[in-house]
Symmetry: C2
Subunit: 216 residues, 2 copies
């Protein structure tokens, strides 16, 4: 059932951090960098960095470290930024629009070929260069274009219906922003974006941080 993954989610998070770190380095800086330096900048353990980099790059050199340019390319490859997977988005409300605009996905290897929304005022229009289509056409369009990735940004009460239509259209991966547990067949993978949990976690950390002040 839940098969083990070659690289776990936390590692993707870290790889993504290394990438932003490396890309925002001044052009005047050295052409190479050590894993230790990256770790220090991000405030994490250096062995973790070395292991992550070992798993996805062609390796560094003792005393020199990694060539930044090569490393950027290797990380981008590991994150799939060079693949251009096609996807559809359902729900062109505030969140959907934000996602369509958010650094414009293409940089991250995702090509949103269509967005569905039931609002008749939107259908036929374009948002951020993406055409808005009637949700009745979800299954047909996904099938014909062989789309494998669906992004769900509709309210929770229509999320399962949308999900079913996507799956019927052959979608195999769903990025779900609706606060609901979606039921899908075993061969469909889901990544839930749970804002409520993130927020709760942050609030709790804050409480503990303030409690620590007072105990000192």
């Amino acid at each position: 059932m839940a098969e083990k993954l070659s690289i776990p989610l936390p590692a993707y998070n870290r790889l993504s951090m290394y990438l932003t770190c490396l890309k925002r380095r001044p052009a005047t800086a050295a052409a190479n960098i050590s894993a230790t330096a990256i770790a220090e900048e991000l405030g994490i353990n250096d062995v973790v960095v070395r292991k992550d980099l070992a798993s996805i790059s062609s390796g560094g050199k003792p005393k020199i470290g990694y060539i930044i340019e090569d490393l950027i390319r290797d990380i981008e490859h590991a994150l799939g930024h060079d693949t251009a997977a096609e996807a559809v988005l359902v729900g062109a409300g505030n969140l959907g629009k934000a996602l369509l605009a958010y650094s414009n996905f293409e940089k991250y290897g995702l090509n949103v070929v269509a967005a569905f929304d039931s609002n008749p005022n939107l259908i036929g229009k374009e948002i951020q260069g993406t055409k808005i289509v009637d949700p009745a056409r979800i299954q047909d369009l996904c099938e014909r274009m062989h789309i494998k990735i669906g992004i769900i940004t509709v309210p929770f009460d229509s999320a399962q219906t949308v999900c079913d239509a996507l799956v019927a259209g052959g979608i195999r991966a769903i990025w779900n922003f609706a606060p609901i547990h979606l039921k899908v067949p075993e061969n469909v993978v889901i990544k839930n974006e749970n804002m409520a949990a993130s927020l709760a976690f942050l609030t709790k950390q804050l409480e503990e941080s303030i409690a620590k002040d007072n105990s000192n």
Copy 2:
């Protein structure tokens, strides 16, 4: 430094899942539920559910399970939905607007008292009932209102500046949606929302899922 937390993030994710699950149960259904039933509905291990519930609720009863109404209240309490923490948001672009609209935070115990945006056309206006204020006033306003939580939804190149202003204003927790590693003092907690990593992870899972098809 990195102090251990009473409840880890995955547990918050699960608690949040239990909550949506319980809340969307038909009113006609039984008033009680077993941990096993919840686990089955969500497709996760039942011992995990029992442990999570044991840690935050007053406990279930053998053969009966948990009283749904009480359980909902206990989970909401654990997630801090009954606390009403005050926060400010910086960056009222698409993402900021989406967050202000997203199930209207208040349900999750967060009260966004002000939103900052440098766009002069927005300053003084209201979005989703939240007043838009000049970012020059970040420090002053946070200080005066004793705000402890800041949400950053600005582009990456102004994120660190905004972050510094928030910290100067006494902010102790930051929910960061900008794709950049923010530098903060030790006593400020950060929760990064890394869309690029989530997306990369989903894409990779999809690849593995399709590879599995072909190997069978």
